[in-house]
């Protein structure tokens, strides 16, 4: 055995405090911002200009902030759905695919019936999208519950397949005949668009739907017996089994909720700011929402805040592209480093650092 020495150790806290839980994501945000600004400096960009464009402008300029709200909708929706699954230890990382399939299901209506009118159209599209997303996630659930396949890999593979389905439709049957051969569908009719709620902006009613569902998620996860069963079913399947809760049901429910929410987000995107089905309907929302879910502490209320932060990073990245010539890939680097910083910071919510000799090295 080596000589006894003093070294840092992680000691579990009896009870993590709420203020620490709130501090962790803030600390992570500050750390990630500093690291990334340093990176921009290294890349020869002006960090002050980037900071202004990326961090300040989304909040101080109203047009910019309205775009933040617009992006908050899909991120909030997807992340709320994912967080329910993650708390039940069901790792659905295929929200990107569920989002795309949702967008496709929603688009079917205006693509097939471009002349249809009536206020029923956009709600029907949102519902169709949500069902499409749930259906796509249902494949993963079947594979996991019936075949015991790893849901991480299956859901991710299905996302890659979904992109190809989208490409197939846009280059083939759903291509706009008058679209100069661009891979996109026809522009949707007026009644296929979710109504706007803030005049002069692109913010639409789907943000209100997302907020309402976030509150529903709060009631479901924090207050209902069903939510409790779900969480226990994932955390301790054996114990849950003895108590009569089924692991399989927890997996099905987690994935269907996650797919439903992601599909709804996809539908709201094509029936909202985009107004048609096209290749770039998602700029990685499905993956960014994973970060949003964790950053919000997997808590329905926390996620409201983290989705605004993530939306601001997207908009800030766009701003910095224009005003400080920052490559758009910088957003992905920021996202990755933010999640990593958060995961490290959260360690100190659960543990405290102590300097001591481990028990195993105390001489007998």
């Amino acid at each position: 055995m080596s000589a006894p020495r003093i070294r840092p150790m992680l000691v579990k806290r009896d009870r993590p405090s709420l203020s620490l839980k709130i501090l962790a994501p803030l600390l992570a945000l500050v750390a990630a911002t500093l690291i990334n600004l340093l990176l921009y400096l290294f890349m020869g960009k002006d960090p002050v200009a980037v900071f202004h464009a990326m961090i300040l402008e989304p909040f101080i300029s109203f047009p910019s902030f309205s775009e933040v709200l617009l992006k908050t909708g899909p991120l909030l929706l997807i992340a709320e759905g994912l967080a329910i699954g993650y708390r039940a230890k069901v790792f659905n990382i295929g929200a990107e695919g569920q989002f795309i399939i949702g967008a496709i299901f929603a688009s079917a209506l205006p693509v097939w019936y471009p002349m249809a009118t009536g206020q029923w159209i956009w709600p029907t599209m949102l519902l169709a999208g949500a069902l499409g997303g749930a259906l796509w996630a249902g494949i993963t659930a079947f594979w996991r519950v019936r075949l015991r396949a790893n849901e991480i890999l299956v859901s991710l593979m299905l996302s890659l397949v979904a992109i190809q389905v989208l490409n197939y439709l846009l280059l083939g049957p759903w291509k706009d005949p008058n679209g100069f051969n661009f891979p996109q569908s026809v522009m949707f009719q007026y009644d296929a668009m979710v109504p706007l709620i803030i005049p002069g902006t692109r913010v639409n009613a789907s943000l209100l739907i997302a907020l309402a569902l976030a509150l529903a998620a709060y009631v479901f996860m924090q207050k209902s017996f069903m939510g409790y069963k779900l969480e226990v079913g994932g955390l301790a399947p054996r114990a849950a089994g003895y108590a009569g809760f089924s692991e399989g049901r927890a997996i099905w429910l987690s994935l269907l909720i996650g797919g439903f929410a992601a599909g709804l987000a996809g539908a709201a995107e094509v029936a909202g700011p985009i107004g048609q089905l096209q290749r770039s309907i998602s700029t990685g929302y499905g993956y960014a929402a994973i970060i949003v879910a964790y950053l919000g502490g997997l808590h329905p209320i926390g996620i409201i805040f983290s989705s605004i932060v993530m939306a601001a990073i997207y908009i800030g990245g766009d701003n910095a592209l224009v005003s400080a010539d920052l490559p758009i890939a910088a957003v992905r680097v920021f996202q990755g480093s933010l999640l990593l910083s958060y995961l490290m910071a959260v360690t100190f919510v659960r543990y405290r650092l102590a300097f001591a000799r481990p028990v195993s090295e105390v001489p007998a």
Binding site: L147, A149, N150, L153, Q164, V165, Y287, I290
Partner: protein, 303 residues
């Protein structure tokens, strides 16, 4: 017959990115660590290697640089997941996103550029055989990958290092209590996994299809992760699995060349669909997974 010859001669090269990344992940998983960041590690390796070759640094330095960069990034994962006990699934995803972002960032000005690959080396005599002759004409990295497969198989089968890796993956408490540095061994295994993923990316971007495009790894890192499951954590089966995927990715091209009318999107989805189907088949065989699975995979260990 021509299609068969085409698949046989190209299969090993197509399999190599899968094989290298999966072998690296195998070592990490055998030591009990699930690193989901392979896709990002490969992407970073691919970008770094491409840049080095593009500027005339040569393939040896390119592979070294790619391996080093990916190993460093995987050490960041190790610091979070093993040092700070962060959630392994989430930390792996974070590294994946970070790696893909970094690759796009450094590779931005090289988008769609190409470099020269590597010449092929033929095995004298065998390469003249009819039909299967193409199997024996491969670039040097393919030959080295086969050697690496053998070396890793032998390490697990015969050496103390192999036993040690398996011990910390199966029962870290027991390994710790008889004095083995569990965390240090796991960190080393993760770094090795990163190194191999970097090589895999380097091969993809500078030898197999010598060009750089953002997103060019196209899910191959994720398929490598699935391959470790297909191979039920056994080196030889992972090798055959990688060959299968190499063949699948060529079969589509062969079918197209043979005049079979299939939407190109279906061909592009083929590897993903095969992954989903095979995952279902292998995973439903619980005995197989129990027999060879890693008992403490993904579980944190605190000494």
């Amino acid at each position: 017959m021509i299609a068969l010859e085409f698949i046989l001669s190209g299969m090993l090269a197509a399999a190599t990115p899968f094989l290298l990344a999966a072998l690296g992940e195998l070592v990490g998983e055998r030591a009990g660590v699930l690193n989901l960041g392979v896709e990002g590690l490969m992407a970073l390796g691919a970008a770094i290697a491409f840049i080095i070759v593009y500027h005339g640094g040569g393939h040896v330095f390119a592979f070294a640089g790619a391996g080093l960069a990916a190993a460093l990034l995987s050490l960041l994962f190790a610091f979070a997941a093993l040092g700070l006990q962060a959630n392994q699934v989430a930390a792996g995803l974070a590294i994946g996103i970070l790696g893909q972002g970094l690759s796009a960032l450094v590779g931005k000005t090289y988008e769609s550029l190409t470099v020269k690959g590597l010449p092929k080396l033929a095995v004298p005599g065998l390469s003249d055989l009819p039909v299967v002759g193409g199997l024996f004409v491969q670039d040097p990295v393919v030959w080295l990958s086969l050697a690496a497969t053998l070396a890793i198989w032998a390490t697990f089968a015969f050496t103390k290092t192999g036993l040690l890796l398996r011990a910390v993956g199966e029962n870290p408490k027991a390994a710790h209590s008889i004095g083995y540095p569990v965390i240090a061994i796991r960190v080393a295994a993760v770094a090795f996994g990163g190194l191999m993923a970097g090589f895999a990316g380097a091969y993809a971007a500078t030898v197999y299809t010598p060009l750089w495009a953002d997103g060019m790894i196209a899910g191959r890192g994720w398929i490598a992760l699935a391959l470790v499951v297909f191979g039920t954590w056994l080196t030889a089966r992972i090798f055959w699995g990688a060959c299968l995927f190499g063949a699948v990715s060529l079969a589509g091209l062969a079918a197209q060349a043979g005049g079979v009318e299939l939407p190109s999107q279906l061909l592009a989805s083929m590897p993903y669909l095969v992954t989903i189907v095979v995952l279902g088949i292998i995973s439903s065989n619980r005995r197989l997974l129990k027999l060879n699975g890693v008992a403490s995979l993904g579980e944190p260990f605190k000494p």
